[in-house]
């Protein structure tokens, strides 16, 4: 009797463990399918000329030219707009993170830290509309512009950069700070030269991941940068970034453009895989 019950419990243990493993497998099926389809549909189109040549926004074959065109302008626009967003958000995020980690161990610091966390959950489309509303208020002519999009992306990036900086700097041992003070180094220099340099790998990783996420954003750009087949033509004009290109090509009717969308997606996926692997290797066993 007792023997039977124990065996039942052991079997149940194995069944439950097996079901949990099955959950992992089920969750990974979409990832595998997505990667497989991206490589299957995108790899053969990914070439140097695809990466640098101009777009063929019409997406139809004309005699002598039956290609999907390239995504050169979109890549350029992405680099410019996301780069501008990074220039705005990374210094701000790092400074705020420094405050939270070095000076903010009080009620105010905790409140700011809390709401920064909350801000990371703000839907990006709402951030886009916010940027739009602000730009419309000041200048209707520039409501849809590359600068508008850069501001939206910067707002999306700031909370992430702030929190990773805070977390990264908190991992720096206090002994380093105390050592610096003991040598008579002023606090700001101790923070900038010792704490910041010691924690830099985590800050850089966080910033790179934030940039990568911004590079794949679409929703806020639909209401800010709009779209332009020329890519980037100035901060006051609409711009066509990689993400929106994928969206418009994927939802368009032309099979040529759909192929280009897969190619652009594969490019983003490869960049994402490379960067997240690099980040993982860079942070491996650090401060553990």
């Amino acid at each position: 009797m007792k023997f039977n019950r124990d065996r039942r419990r052991r079997i149940f243990n194995w069944v439950a463990s097996g079901l949990c493993f099955l959950c992992v497998v089920v969750a990974l099926i979409p990832l595998v399918s997505l990667l497989y389809n991206a490589f299957l549909n995108g790899l053969h189109i990914l070439s140097i000329s695809f990466l640098i040549s101009a777009e063929n926004p019409v997406g139809i074959c004309v005699p002598g030219n039956c290609s999907a065109g390239g995504i050169g302008p979109a890549i350029y626009a992405t680099v410019v707009v996301v780069g501008t967003a990074a220039l705005m958000s990374i210094p701000a995020g790092v400074l705020a993170g420094i405050y939270l980690s070095e000076y903010g161990r009080n009620r105010l610091g905790r409140v700011i830290s809390f709401f920064t966390d909350v801000m990371t959950g703000t839907p990006s489309i709402v951030v886009g509309l916010f940027a739009f509303a602000v730009f419309v208020y000041f200048s209707r002519a520039h409501a849809f512009s590359a600068l508008d999009g850069a501001v939206a992306l910067a707002i999306i990036m700031v909370p992430t950069v702030t929190r990773t900086t805070e977390e990264g700097l908190r991992l720096v041992p206090n002994a380093l700070r105390e050592g610096a003070y003991a040598l008579g180094i002023p606090r700001y220099r101790a923070v900038l030269q010792i704490v910041l340099t010691t924690g830099r790998s985590i800050i850089i990783t966080g910033a790179v991941l934030a940039v990568m996420r911004a590079a794949g954003e679409v929703a806020p750009l639909l209401v800010t940068t709009l779209f332009s087949p020329q890519g980037f033509t100035g901060f006051g004009n609409p711009a066509g970034l990689l993400g929106p290109v994928i969206f418009f090509y994927a939802t368009g009717a032309s099979p040529l453009l759909v192929r280009a969308a897969w190619g652009a997606s594969l490019l983003l996926i490869l960049a994402m895989l490379g960067i997240s692997l690099a980040a993982r290797i860079a942070l491996r066993n650090r401060y553990k």
């Binding site: 949990c20 990832l31 794949g216």
Partner: protein, 331 residues
């Protein structure tokens, strides 16, 4: 003694040091406060830019089912419905899966298996939403249309027939795109959020908690169920709420598979629209009319307030947890 030899220069330089120190503190504090100001500005700007519809209709838009901007009908009910239904489907699918993943990775699997598998699951979170949308259009929608939806429709029909009821869950034309598919794609996207935060919550459970159960003769699973899961309950609930927040605000993937019709879904096969997908789809074609632009901004305001409430609730739970268990690396 060492300092006295240079004491004349020292008072000046220490004053400069102090000024620089305070300046640095001031700058970092100002930027940090700027973040709080940003969030406040956010809400104020959205209220201000939607004042046209706020004054004219107030919050009655939330309960109004008719959306037709050309005739000044700005009911948001279909989109609130769409948002709630897709998020509910996503949670129904994602919560059990994510809990299974979190339990397997933190309790059952040895480290050399859980590390790479956990990394793969978190890769799902790094895939841009629009790429999920592209995959959704060309892989998931056809798959749902041919392999999943017909079976569900048959099951629904036979249940209705057997019990003499009319459950309208899986009825109507099978298009592949629609509310159900949007819920499935949302589930895939929130699994990494829920599973990784639940994992952290499980990891924060003290080891003696497990050992006590194992020492009484419990199997691995019994120890997990009885002493680990109950201990990590608050963290897991917070993880689920954060997943809900992500599902509610997710835009592109949903926009690309939900079908984008402005009506209240009549079954899970119906096409529909979420608040986020409404903005992504229709803002450009209608923003030129001030009243319509204001209605969109009111929709954005509603979405912001919903996600703020969700996130504040979940973060409060996580923070209280961190305080009571003394940390444990829960973010």
């Amino acid at each position: 003694m060492l300092s006295r030899s240079r004491s004349s220069g020292r008072t000046i330089s220490s004053r400069i040091k102090r000024i620089l120190d305070l300046t640095f503190l001031g700058v970092t504090l100002a930027v940090a406060l700027g973040l709080l100001a940003l969030l406040t500005t956010f809400i104020l700007v959205l209220i201000n830019s939607s004042h046209l519809t706020l004054i004219r209709y107030g919050i009655s838009l939330l309960g109004n089912p008719k959306w037709a901007p050309s005739s000044n009908h700005f009911g948001l009910l279909p989109f609130i419905d769409g948002t709630l239904i897709t998020a509910a489907i996503a949670l129904l699918i994602a919560v059990p899966l994510s809990l299974g993943i979190a339990i397997f990775l933190s309790e059952l699997a040895p480290r050399w298996i859980s590390e790479p598998l956990g990394y793969l699951v978190e890769l799902l979170a790094a895939v841009p939403s629009v790429i999920f949308g592209l995959w959704g259009i060309f892989v998931l929608v056809p798959f749902m249309r041919t392999s999943i939806d017909p079976g569900l429709a048959r099951a629904n029909a036979s249940v209705n027939h057997a019990l003499h009821v009319t459950i309208p869950l899986f009825t109507g034309p099978i298009l592949g795109s629609g509310v159900l598919t949007a819920g499935v794609i949302l589930a895939i996207m929130i699994i990494p959020t829920i599973s990784s935060i639940s994992r952290e919550a499980l990891r924060a459970v003290p080891q003696p908690q497990r050992e006590a159960a194992l020492g009484l003769g419990a199997t691995r699973w019994e120890s997990t169920r009885m002493s680990v899961l109950s201990y990590a309950r608050v963290g897991i609930i917070a993880a689920i709420i954060l997943g809900l927040g992500r599902a509610v605000g997710e835009t592109m993937a949903v926009t690309m598979v939900i079908g984008n019709t402005d009506y209240i879904p009549t079954s899970l096969f119906s096409q529909g629209q979420t608040i986020a997908s409404l903005i992504a789809n229709e803002f450009l074609s209608t923003y030129a009319s001030p009243l319509a632009a204001s209605a969109f901004l009111e929709a954005a305001l509603v979405l912001l307030l919903i996600t703020l409430a969700i996130n504040i609730g979940a973060r409060l739970m996580v923070w209280r947890l961190v305080k009571t268990t003394g940390g444990g690396g829960i973010e």
